[in-house]
Symmetry: C2
Subunit: 340 residues, 2 copies
């Protein structure tokens, strides 16, 4: 089943059920007005939505055209957004570039930060650049939405509480990160609003690509129409989503509608842990954020050449199934100066 | 105007308008079913709620008894909870105890972390102790709820966007903090669900005690019926709420219903910045968390004697007006083993 939230002028939008090919949709306001309302009563609501989804495919539902550009983030605002760093290669790479040791426990103890969730960007919303020289970057990620997760939940049980899967652009202000993290309280100003894909998809609708709490498909990240990354999201994800959720739930319950992010999708090269891989232009899988590409440039050539995002730059994040069909629709965003 | 959320079995509870003396209330579901709904349309809703509030005082409204024990957190879940550390004395003290330098900029650059907001504890809910030896602590704080705050908002403008004021018990697991902060991503497991006071109050209803974006009254924190702290919340708050909100909004807008916390209310002693003051039993103002009391014990006697919270311990947080009347009702919580 695929769900989306259409803009109807309200804060939380209008829930629709979307066809597998993303061409059609149908309103499900009679079942649940919003996605949060659906998540709040999932056991009761999901079977009804599944029945509608079947009708969307069979043609027994009245349909309207689905336009990705009219979709907001599936949850335009959420009660929780916790973003991991499950592709530890990303962390190792960024640290290596600045000559910082990465603690060995990062391979066994998940990194997870509490993100702002009071207002997300829609998949086609511009990315506001709050100020010049903030080193604006994209981060292509996978994210899941959970049901109610009890405190102390196991990773295995947590996998069964994943309701929906999405793509995410975790917008980052790189120039603000070192100073902010040095204060010890984590990210705040350096992580403005994230964007999510037009469509959220139930794990079962992902078929064999969804297994072991991971999504086994390449993540397409393009920068100004040129491919930047094609990293395999199922590889090098050291902590699966079940483990991330269990980590988040160690000392407290998680409310329905909690979004958990994977962190930047990142593969090691064929040489293993110390090999950051090659840019796409040189036959590698590339990178899901500009910072990684810059690190590799720095390590290989002594200087980074790819600039961070500036106004007018465009980022595209998408994932396709084996038939080349877009699964979640595309995040397509242009950077604009804040206030414009 | 005073507002509260009564438990009606739903996730977000039922909004009521409460009398100034906290004895009576009246349902306002015909105006806004929940506090979040009221905040979402505040400009339209607030005047109607104020009219009801006037009727509550004059007796022209049908009233029911208000029982603090039936109240949930004013926002049982929120889209954002960002907690500051505006009483820098608290930070200085805790750092001094472990021999860590405090950066000078902490006096000019606010500390603020993104907290979990997907499920808060009600004012009389037990505090679950997730595991033994986690050094469970209370933190008595002031918190405000904002309206929509635009990106780049000034501190002055932000002060005008404060809708409601509450008290908070920011539950902390001290034993988990050093390890978690060392990872660099801020608090997560070390900050389980916070609790809020039974009643949220508009700034104008606080009268002269609310000025300069600060609440100028002592915060009563009791531990097992003995006074622990009577710190003056209006003193030593280096960053007022306007400044904290502006800091949070530097790179992104804040959605209506954002909760901003002051951090542990903490005063210096009469000797100024290097004087942590005395425990209440010795004529000082005491402390709003156990950690501070322990730090002072350590500094004065070479060892901390007050234990952290264990099952059966009770915490009480309250604030009274000049007439000795409770303003927000009391947070009264008992520690229980998780799962009981």
């Amino acid at each position: 089943m695929k769900l989306a939230t259409l803009d109807d002028g309200s804060r939380d939008g209008r829930l629709v059920c979307v066809s597998r090919n993303l061409a059609w949709c149908t309103g499900v306001g009679h079942i649940a007005p919003t996605l949060q309302a659906a998540l709040d009563a999932w056991d009761d609501v999901a079977p009804k939505l599944e029945a509608v989804a079947a009708g969307v495919e069979s043609g027994s539902q009245p349909l309207e055209r689905f336009h990705e550009r009219l979709a907001r983030a599936p949850l335009p605002r959420a009660y929780q957004w916790a973003d991991g760093s499950a592709y530890v290669n990303h962390v190792a790479l960024v640290r290596r570039a600045r000559g910082a040791e990465m603690p060995e426990r990062f391979w066994t103890d998940p990194l997870l930060y509490q993100g702002g969730s009071d207002g997300f960007l829609g998949p086609r919303d511009p990315i506001p650049q709050p100020e010049p020289d903030c080193d604006l970057d994209c981060e292509g990620e996978i994210a899941v939405i959970t049901g109610d997760v009890p405190m102390g939940c196991s990773a295995e049980d947590a996998r069964g509480l994943i309701r929906l899967v999405m793509l995410c652009n975790d917008v980052s202000l790189r120039a603000l990160i070192p100073d902010e993290l040095a204060k010890g309280f984590g990210f705040f100003q350096s992580k403005p609003a994230s964007a999510f894909s037009p469509v959220a998809v139930t794990p079962d609708a992902l078929g064999a690509a969804w297994r072991d709490g991971r999504l086994h498909l390449p993540l397409h990240v393009d920068l100004n129409d040129a491919p930047l990354g094609r990293a395999e999201a199922g590889e090098d994800m050291i902590f699966d989503f079940g483990t991330l959720i269990a980590h988040a739930a160690r000392t407290r319950a998680l409310g329905a509608g909690t979004i958990i992010g994977s962190g930047t999708v990142s593969n090691t090269g064929p040489g293993g842990a110390d090999d950051p891989g090659l840019p796409l232009a040189e036959g590698g899988r590339g990178y899901s954020c500009i910072a990684e590409q810059r690190v590799v440039e720095l390590l290989r050539h002594g200087a980074a050449s790819t600039p961070f995002l500036a106004t007018g730059d465009r980022v595209r994040i998408e994932m396709k199934d084996a038939d080349g069909q877009s699964i979640f629709g595309a995040i397509e965003q242009e950077v604009v100066a804040a206030g414009t």
